[in-house]
Assembly symmetry: C2
Homo-oligomer: 222 residues x 2
């Protein structure tokens, strides 16, 4: 199975594991690390399932794509499974991330202390607002987006976060791709038009809210 | 189809439309409103599909759950489809939302001007940090969480956002449920243990990052 892991690390494009399975692994890892921090040495697909609201069969099936991580009856070794998931997701290390947008959200992200211990460090913050360029967020100095290519190249950065208003997000995304970014986390409320080989994930709280309201009894203030 | 909509608004629990379909409607609405703002009067499932990277067949199938919104060949009336999706998602009005956590993220959310025109208004911000209670975020005064029940009751609020650290998120979530909240958007990096009738959506950028890195060639800084 080590070979298997090596294979899909070298050839993610030919990987046949469904993306929906991959999307659940970070959630499993987050919960396993919580259990680990609480001193748990062993867990089970049943316990994980109850903590996550997912069936234990689903969890076993998802993990089985990557090999045999637990013995029937004895459960999973928490620390070992954490390390394995970190290897599979390639977060057994720290990835550089560039952030574009130094508004309130950019400040929140650049100041968040929960990235580093989960594999990520914001190495640069960029904004074209002259009132923001040169200001400090923590120990990072905000730079104009013209400085992006050099920063991306120097840090060999592949991941960017877009925290700019919707009207400038597409242009920023194109600058990022031009600079060599391969994956974008977009907080701007729109769908970016990107080349097929660029991966984009979106975070828009209103999309979550509007999903919720469908299931609620209507209750508006105006 | 009006009846159909009325039905599942009254009985969301017996609604048989797959949740994955519901989850895509807000994304369709967001794109349709963009087209509307650009002056487009008519669109097609093909155009929407290209803008969203979804197949046109998928879009037609999703919308067909709610009735017939376009005529074969003539496409969709953008403004009409916007209004229909807003009715289906119940965002043809403004929902009150309470926010717990007045840190950087809470400030970013409470200051965000993109909620109101999409159906949501943050009506209260709560935090138990004595250095934050009494401070203003925009025109909202931060209050202690002891003031939650009164605020939730007064505004008949059903939706809350949790923007507190992971270690206090579960306790906050329980206070919110106790106060009458039915749906929670959780920014804390954990999975909440909630009653089955409470809907929780999660936003954790690291989950998105770790999903991305699986597909990237390993490139770490340390």
């Amino acid at each position: 199975m080590a070979t298997q892991r090596a294979d899909h690390q070298q050839n993610p494009t030919v990987d046949e594991i469904p993306d929906i399975v991959i999307s659940r692994l970070p959630v499993y890892l987050r919960t396993l690390r919580l259990l680990d921090s609480q001193g748990a040495e062993v867990t089970s697909s049943q316990e994980l399932g109850e903590l996550l609201g997912i069936s234990s069969a689903q969890i076993r099936k998802d993990l089985s794509h990557f090999g045999e991580f637990g013995k029937q009856g004895t459960g999973y070794n928490v620390a070992f499974l954490c390390r394995q998931l970190e290897k599979i997701l390639k977060v057994d290390c720290v990835w550089p991330v560039v952030l574009v947008g130094a508004g309130y959200l950019g400040h929140a992200l650049a100041s968040y202390n929960g990235f580093l211990n989960r594999g990520f460090r914001i190495v640069g913050v960029f904004d074209n607002d002259p009132t923001k360029v040169g200001t400090q967020i923590g120990d990072i100095e905000v730079k104009p987006t013209s400085a992006l290519p050099e920063a991306v190249d120097r840090t060999r950065c592949q991941i960017a976060v877009i925290a700019v208003p919707a009207h400038s997000a597409q242009a920023v995304a194109e600058e990022l791709i031009e600079a060599g970014i391969r994956s974008i986390l977009c907080y701007a409320p729109l769908t970016l038009n990107m080349p097929p080989d660029v991966r984009v994930e979106y975070i828009d709280p209103v999309i979550s809210f509007q999903h919720m309201t469908y299931y609620l009894d209507k209750g508006c203030i105006d």
